[in-house]
Amino acid sequence: MNWTATTVFVLLFLLVTVMGFVAARWRPGDLNRLDEWGLAGRRFGTVVTWFLLGGDLYTAYTLIAVPALVFGAGALGFFAVPYTLLVYPFVFLVFPRLWSVSHRHGYITASDFVAGRFGSRTLSLAVALTGMFATLPYIALQLVGIEVVIAGLGFHAHGFVGDLPLVIAFAILAAYTYSSGLRAPALIALVKDMLIYLTVIVAIIVIPIHLGGYGAIFRAIPRDKLLLAPPSGGNLGAYSAYTTLALGSALALFLYPHAVTGLLSARSRKVIKRNMALLPTYSVALALIAVLGYMAFAAHVATNPSYAPYFQRYGPNFAVPALILDQFPSWFVGVAFAAIAIGALVPAAIMSIAASNLFTRNVYRDWFHKSLGGAAEARVAKNVSLILKLGALAFIIFLPTKYAIQLQLLGGIWIIQTLPALVGGLFTRWFHAKALTAGWLVGMVVGTAMAATQQFQSSIYALHVGDLTVPGYAALYSVVLNFLVVGAGTLLLDLVGARRGTDETTPEDYLLERDEVPAAGGVDAEPDVIM
């Protein structure tokens, strides 16, 4: 047991625990209302939104898995860079429209919008269930992040005692999410992100000094890992895999419920647009974190006997924790590990809030309890968020981690199938709801089948076009098919003269800024404070 590191770790953990509970009183609102509990009253300014979205999107699992991929597979793992680079211009151009229409009509989830836009409960349910099923394994994977660093602290016990730290961490998380809602992860994100930046900056300065500079680090990497393998023999190989992974992931990221929740909690369109120019700071940090995978390789952590049992248990996911243990004094190990563990709490909280918003609004209220509203609605959401976290915990404790990883991989393929309804719907009403539902179903089935051909080990599917083999991200391939079905289906339904559902939105709704809107939620304009 590494006592110094553990003490620092526990102290930082206690700090964010207190913050999580105090958050309930931060910019007080009536937490018995769903838009107060689940969107923090849509009042976050530029700075809080920057911390919140950064803390939300760059999850602990990302911080572990991206360098692990670089450590194991080399250059391919760097696809995270074009991915997180493409996402912000895309969001800049598309998602302010979602903010406006949601603010105007009081939408809390993407499914709320789809229901309002297309007048179809079925399509809205499809979007809600997709969001929930894509999010659940993601919550579970955050626990893997905590698990890995707790092991790294030298906590060796097995069985119930071994799981105890994880159970305690999650129980605390569940308690303050229940009481403070979205305010808790927003406040904790400040600590998380500052710790992450601190760790990254120290790591990229100190570790290369230990290892003889960046030149030495990159020279230690085998040539075939350092660059992507060029196409050969009619197979585009790593090139098309890299491109499609980047593009598909960028298109999918803001369809995830936790990303939508983060966006909708912003106080104005302006805040979102401004943040799309500011959030790339995190992408730079992520790129540097990816390079940590090479530093771990150059430091020979995998062949170091003291880390052998961990690598055996966690695989390449232990690369970064091993590097940190190898290169830093104990107290800083505590800081860095706390950054990762707290980095798991923020997204896990937001994901569980987002998924329970979806369940409460678009499954429970729409299908079982039409009159649900006010305090009862918020109460259901709070309880559901507890159940979801319990489920994620049970998943990690009782099932092998690989299932969570495989499901999360499938989640990316599933969530992108909501692109035509959500992003398409933000720009056009031309699509028929029935065609969108059919496209969604086809995309879900084909995308899942593509992953099944890889035994769910990889989301890269080798597409054959004539003599050419184009390995690519199954999510991108299947969503193209989805779009084709939507287009053909809409033409067909128009041909037979099928009626479109009622659209409760108007073209102006998509362009309104905060002050121009009579807010549906009842919160009205207030001074433009930056926080």
Binding site: V81, L85, P89, I217, L226, Y239, A246, A277, A287
Partner: protein, 69 residues
């Protein structure tokens, strides 16, 4: 006049879209940067170029915001 006010707005919009499109295509066109040289301080081109490109697109996004697109 409305038409005079609208034309520059459209021009700004189109140039921002074009800049985003070029930025995206460059970052997706692997053969462009899948090389070691020129390296900077021992960091191969593949790595520093893509990191630099994050900054470039962030600046474009900031300009787009300033232009009110």
């Amino acid at each position: 006049m409305a038409s005079r006010g609208r034309a520059p707005a459209r021009w700004r919009r189109v140039s921002v879209y074009a800049a985003f499109l070029i930025g995206a295509l460059v970052s997706l066109w692997v053969p462009l940067y899948n090389r070691v040289d020129p390296s900077i301080a021992g960091i191969p081109f593949f790595y520093w170029f893509q990191i630099l490109w994050i900054v470039v697109l962030a600046v474009v996004t900031a300009i787009a915001y300033r232009l009110g697109v």
